[in-house]
């Protein structure tokens, strides 16, 4: 995507700045002292970060910020969201303007190694997908022989598209547009057989079509776009806290600990649940918090599955399938290290 390209350029320009603040340590202490978590978020991405009619932030990424705040303060509202554009986002982390960036940011090697940042773990596995008319009766992107595909110009999406069809040895006709909006409009008006962009965005774009139910998102994913939280280099304790918050959410789903039953689960006999909720062991202190840190997270924001269902799942207008983002023992690839 263009935004992403610009982001890399902008970030490249600001590498010089990375060194200046890399040494700032003890983010957790600063956050505690300040009484509020500064979280970088997307200014508006359906399902991931959306301001509601009162300006309150909701969404999948937003819930992860709230989870961190809940772990620290026992209050998911002690977050100040800084909506960041693609090009601002890394500088905002580097300069300390935000403590953590959870903004559908693809984890790539260059971002992890050259910007003075740490990324991970993945909280959403995205990838580039296709949307086509149901009437075409297609089952896979490999059947798009000779099809015309609407795509946004000058983006990695366009390059991925070319790679995919060259590797699969299929003929296709790319129809490029300067913006995603134009590309969707062209697809809607019948100019192309398919439209391609990140799969999570496809579901949102689908709602903008005249008759959304006449279109389906093909199961093929032709690129890897793992989204991960971002923190600064130089504060491993804080990085641990951010990482293990994500892991705790995934583990909680795996162990069946939900918002509704978390208090019951405190009495559970299952040693894994007991360790997760801090009934046994003292794992919360390892990340600078108290042992019941996960209880606070789950009580306020729920587990990974609940967050997904509330913001992206089949009961929302987006209706995104869990797919890769299912647990490892449920057909997906979400796999969190155990708490022990």
């Amino acid at each position: 995507m263009i935004k992403r390209t610009i982001a890399v350029l902008a970030a490249g320009l600001s590498i010089a700045g990375a060194g200046i603040t890399a040494a700032s340590a003890a983010t957790l202490d600063q956050v505690k002292q300040r009484g509020v978590l500064h979280c970088g978020s997307n200014p508006g991405l359906a399902g991931f970060a959306v301001a509601d009619d009162k300006g309150q932030w909701t969404g999948f990424d937003v819930a992860f910020c709230r989870a961190i705040a809940a772990a620290i303060f026992d209050d998911p509202n002690k977050v100040k969201f800084s909506p960041l554009t693609a090009k601002d986002r890394f500088t905002a982390v580097q300069s300390g303007e935000v403590d953590v960036l959870i903004r559908n940011t693809t984890w790539t090697m260059s971002r992890d190694t050259t910007l003075g940042l740490n990324l991970g773990p993945v909280n959403y596995y995205d990838g580039q997908g296709f949307i086509v008319r149901k009437s075409l009766g297609l089952k896979s992107a490999k059947e798009l022989e000779g099809a015309s595909v609407c795509v946004q110009q000058g983006t990695t999406t366009e390059l991925n598209l070319a790679d995919f069809f060259r590797v699969s040895n299929i003929k296709y006709e790319p129809v490029t547009y300067a913006s995603a909006v134009e590309a969707v409009k062209a697809y809607d008006s019948g100019r192309c057989d398919a439209f391609t962009t990140d799969a999570s965005a496809l579901y949102a774009e689908r709602l903008r079509l005249t008759a959304p139910d006449d279109h389906i998102v093909l199961p093929d994913i032709i690129s890897k776009e793992p989204f991960a939280p971002v923190v600064r280099h130089g504060d491993d304790q804080w990085f641990d806290l951010v990482r293990w918050t994500t892991y705790a959410l995934i583990n909680a789903e795996e162990l069946g600990v939900t918002k509704a039953n978390v208090d019951e689960q405190l009495k559970s006999e299952n040693p894994e649940v007991r360790r997760l909720l801090g009934v046994e062991g003292n794992f919360g202190e390892g990340v600078g918090l108290t042992q019941d840190w996960v209880v606070r997270i789950i009580r306020h924001v729920g587990n990974y599955g609940e967050i997904f269902a509330a913001n992206l799942g089949t009961n929302t207008p987006l209706a995104i399938d869990r797919g890769l983002n299912n647990l490892w023992n449920n057909g997906g690839i979400l796999y969190a290290p155990p708490i022990r």
Partner: protein, 397 residues
Amino acid sequence: MTTTGETTNGRTTVGPIAFVRASTVPAQKPPVLVGGPVAWVRANLLSSPLNVLLTVIGLYFIYLIVPPAVRFLLVDAVWTGDDRNACLAETVGREVGACWAYVGFRLRFFVYGAYPDGELWRANLVFVLCLVGIVWLLSTRMPRKGLGAVYFFGVFPVAAFILLYGWPAIGLRRVDTSLWGGVVVTLVLAFTGIVVSLPFGILLALGRRSRLPLVRLVSVIFIEFWRGVPLITVLIMANTMLPLFLPGNISPDKLLRPIVGVALFASAYMAEVVRGGLQAIPKGQFEGAQSLGLNYWQLTRLIVLPQALRIVIPGIVNTFIGLFKDTSLVSIVGIFDLMRTIEVSLADPRWSTPVTAPTGYAFAALFYFICCFGMSRYSIAMEKRLAAGHDRQGTVK
């Protein structure tokens, strides 16, 4: 003409003259073909073959644009509803135009952003105070303009700041600027820009014409620097790069940075507009004033500026309007002005339909148009009032 008169005491008195009218004949309307609407059409629209052609082309464009626009914005529009289903053609069962229900649902967000619910009265009070100031200053009938100016340029900004930002000491909860949004932010940006740029621009213009080399140099450098960089560069520098140059614990407010940028930027443009007016004042005015013994500031304040500013009213208002519209650029650096709030709300799946985005942008266009058109009309009225003693050629009647 002879009179039938008699001579008394050597004077001739004149009797009634039967065939001369005693009263004026009431004026008759000109024939319809010369003065009526038909004549107007003939004179203005159909006076030559070229004009006939242009009229036809013009009418064709109106036909092309106006009916579909009215259809989309009014006839086919959806006025009520709770979510996207209200604005989907398939659920409504007819073609759907603008989805005003979405604007209604989001209006609070468009006007106040994330400003806390319980504190909305503070923003409303600021709107009212602002309106009072505008009416006071702009209406010709209101008294005590001097006091009005002090209120508008001195008291109001401070009061507005305290109200919006809060002052815990007097019981007003602090509302972080990150929660401000929508029309509030757009007006704060535009108002600060306008209030700062006019006086600052006048000073810079005077400075640039000053005989003191240092003052002149500083003014020239300032003006040329700010005119030489695009506003968007200024904003990106302020919001993205500035934090990198400052030590970690110093972080100027994220809204303050673009406000300062916009105000300085507008000042440079204002300075050049005012300088144009200063240069149009004949040398005789300066010499006349000096011969009366006025010093520099008296001469500037009493003789030069009143004339110069009157000349450049169109230019000043032009700069204001440009500034007002330029405030929408801050949306690029993540400030929640009206444009940004609209764009953000477009991401909400609850309302995403094919017509949501056009409706949102139509709403923005309407808001900006009303504001800018208002400024423009006011400036024309002002010009007329100030030019009362001059006709259009600028000669004294």
